[in-house]
Structure formats: structure tokens, C-alpha cells
Symmetry: C2
Subunit: 229 residues, 2 copies
Amino acid sequence: MTSTYRDVKSDILSKITKGEWQPGSLVPNEVELAETYGCARATVNRAMRELADEGIIERRRKAGTRVRMAPLRQARFDIPIVRCEIEEKGAEYRYSLVSQIVEDVPAWLRGRLKLQSGGRSLHLVCMHYADGDPYQHEDRWISLDALPDAETADFTTTGPNEWLVSTIPFSDAEISFSAALADKNIADHLSCSLGDPVFTVERSTWWEGQALTYVRLTYRPGHRLTTRY
Amino acid sequence: MTSTYRDVKSDILSKITKGEWQPGSLVPNEVELAETYGCARATVNRAMRELADEGIIERRRKAGTRVRMAPLRQARFDIPIVRCEIEEKGAEYRYSLVSQIVEDVPAWLRGRLKLQSGGRSLHLVCMHYADGDPYQHEDRWISLDALPDAETADFTTTGPNEWLVSTIPFSDAEISFSAALADKNIADHLSCSLGDPVFTVERSTWWEGQALTYVRLTYRPGHRLTTRY
DNA sequence: CAGTGGTCTAGACCACTGA
DNA sequence: CAGTGGTCTAGACCACTGT
């Protein structure tokens, strides 16, 4: 008789997936559902709130709750640290620093980071290997205005990602996925052919409105990013 | 004095981002926090639960709550319906059916859909245009064993995606992103060059354990999938 | 075993917003 | 204005798990 919020949630979900409650239709209000399931309104509320968060239903005060017309599909991806990503596959991780120079923030990057004026930046190129095979190429800029300590940090044995995570654990980021062609430089590093299609991830990071870092990660050909929802 | 769960959540979050509570450190328990903020334990609980869902903190009974060592970064992407995606950019959407044939499920697809035996399937190829320009190429298989109605449905004016969404609004799916090269066929349809890098999305869909459909979406060169977190 | 989070309750008041 | 969801409370019991 007494239902948990999980019971309520899964029962409602099944009513929807089985077509009993059609998209667009009005769902009973919380008080009615609480009576139906023999539980408190707060319990129903939690079930419904989670369904709303997941994009299954739409709720509006006074108007009530409806099953979404076009079910909003959303997928969640974990953004792993390369080392963990490789080690979880049971492979041995190896890191190498390719180059490290200080240079002014190039114009294209100012746009990406929404910077008005340029500034000094640390430009790093690194490689990440799985069982000795090239896995990911990392092309990173770190703003020295925002993170002056980066200039004296040691990136020869540990990647900038891990340094950044420990220095600035939480921040805002914009991430974007796209496909690109391997140029000569990338092909050499990833041991692939010129013109191979490569999956690239770009990430710009800010903290309290200040641009911290931009990175372009290029995976070896054939890489896939997969999730379920 | 009285705090809402949002107040509590953002205050705790700022304590973490500002470094006051270091990664790995133990956070006061719910009763203490409730006294600190002058609110009920349930209010603190909701704030903390949301932070845990977002991967900021880790909670375990008896052991207490800790700031995550390696902040779990996760990104959410909305999986749009092509038509909406294009219309939201302010462009005019146009759809066209390229081909439609019934054929046995090929072997490679059986693997993708975790099917033991083959079966009949409807194989559709479609194009989606934005302001008259090729935007996305859709290569879709629909299981006729699971969805016999698909055989008689009309896909000349409306894409299979919209038909599927209205027929089977909720389902389980696996989605994966990768980079590929445009072959002759794709290049012709997308008006791009042979060998251009293209962003591809593959999605397999099941309902109650039964394979429904597989689709491979190929975007015109230069497409990016972006989100913030 | 004891401490911590997980959940439920019954009731209350409030904030929106459709009619 | 009135109906609906949004949130808070004080208290309770339970479930897990480290010691």
C-alpha cells in the first residue's frame, strides 16, 4: 500500500511508456496521485520533479502536469580525465610533453575565450598513450594572466589537465565536439595518415568570468564517444 | 536567517569553488548544516542531494559527505529533432526521402542491435535541408518485426524520426558520436567533397528489450555539437 | 553498534498563472 | 480569484556501513 517515490516514479513512467497516458495529456494533480498511491504529497512531488528534470513531463503551476509532446531527449556524457579513461580500459597510461612555450594569446583564441585584450599564455602540446599507442593529442593554452603559477609548474611528467584540476577544481566550461582531418602534425603524433578523420573535443574554461584555459583534444582515428539514455 | 535549499546549495558550492572546503575533505553532516543555516534537515538534504547528483560531492552513509577528489565532470546534450534544430536557427526546414526499400537486417546491424536472428527491415535514406542547403543525411533501418506499421507508413513528406517519436514516444537508446570521411554517396548528398571530415551520430533504440531502429546521421562538414556545464 | 544519509509524513504557506 | 506546483518544517524511522 505505502509507495516509495521510486515506486510512484516508475509506475507513472510505465503508464507513459505503455501509452496509457498519451503525450500532451494532463496528468492527475499531486493530491490525487498521493491518494491513489496512498502516500504523502511530498513523495509524489519528488517522483514528478525527477520526471520533469529528465524531460519526460512538463509542469506548470495552476496549469498542471502534462506528458511532453516531443519527449525531450538528453544524453549525459562523463568528461573523463584521459589517464582514467585509458586505465579503465585496462591499458597502461603514458604521458609525454611535446612542447612548451610562452606566447601571446592568438587572435582566434581571444574570440573563443571572449577576451577583449590579448595577454601572455602558456602553449603546451602533449601526447597521451594507451599501452604505448598514441591515444590523444592535446593542444592547450593556459592564460598566464589568470594562472601565473602555470609558468613555473612542471609539465614534463604530469599533464596540464591534472595540474589544472588540482589547482582550479571547479569552473565553468564550454565543450564542443566536431570532426576534423588529421594534418601533417597530428598524423605524425597519432601515427595515422594525413587526411584521416579524427574526433576532436574543444573545451574552454572560465572561473568567475575570467578565462583560464582552452584545450583541443584530438583522438586517434576510430574513437567513439558513447552513452545510453 | 531562514535559508532556502537554493541558498544552502549555492553557499556550499561557493565554499567549495573558493577552496574553503578542499577536495577530499569531509563536509559537516546534515544536522550541523541545518543548525548553521537555520533550516530543517530536509532542506539541507535537498541541497546536498542535488550537489551529489551533479558530481560535486560524494555521500555515503555513516562515512559522511566529502568534496569529490577529481570533480566528476559531466556534460548534458539535448538530442534535438532535426526539424527543431534547424528551425531554432531561424532557417527553413525541408525534408526529402531519397530511397525506401525493404531488406533483411544486414549482419553488421544485427551486432549493433544485439539481435540473435535477422529479420525484415525497412531501410530509409533521407535528407534534411536548412534554407535549401544540405544539413543532415539520415540512413535509417526500422525493424519490421518490431514495428510492422512502418511498412505502410508514408515517409515521403515527413521523416521517419517524427513518425517514430509519435509511435513510440519513449524508449531506451544508445548514442555514439564519431568522425568519418565523406564517401562518394555522402559527398553527393551533402554537396561536399569526397574525403571531407564529417561528424556522425549513431543511435540504436530499443523498447522493452526489443530492437526498434538504428540510425546513422551524418552532418555537413563543419558541424559542431556544443554545450556548457 | 552507532553515526550518517535516505526517505516518508502531515501539515503549512507561498508563488505563480490560467480562467 | 482559485487551483496547481514549489518549498519548508519537525519529527520519525529505516538502511547502510565504518569502526
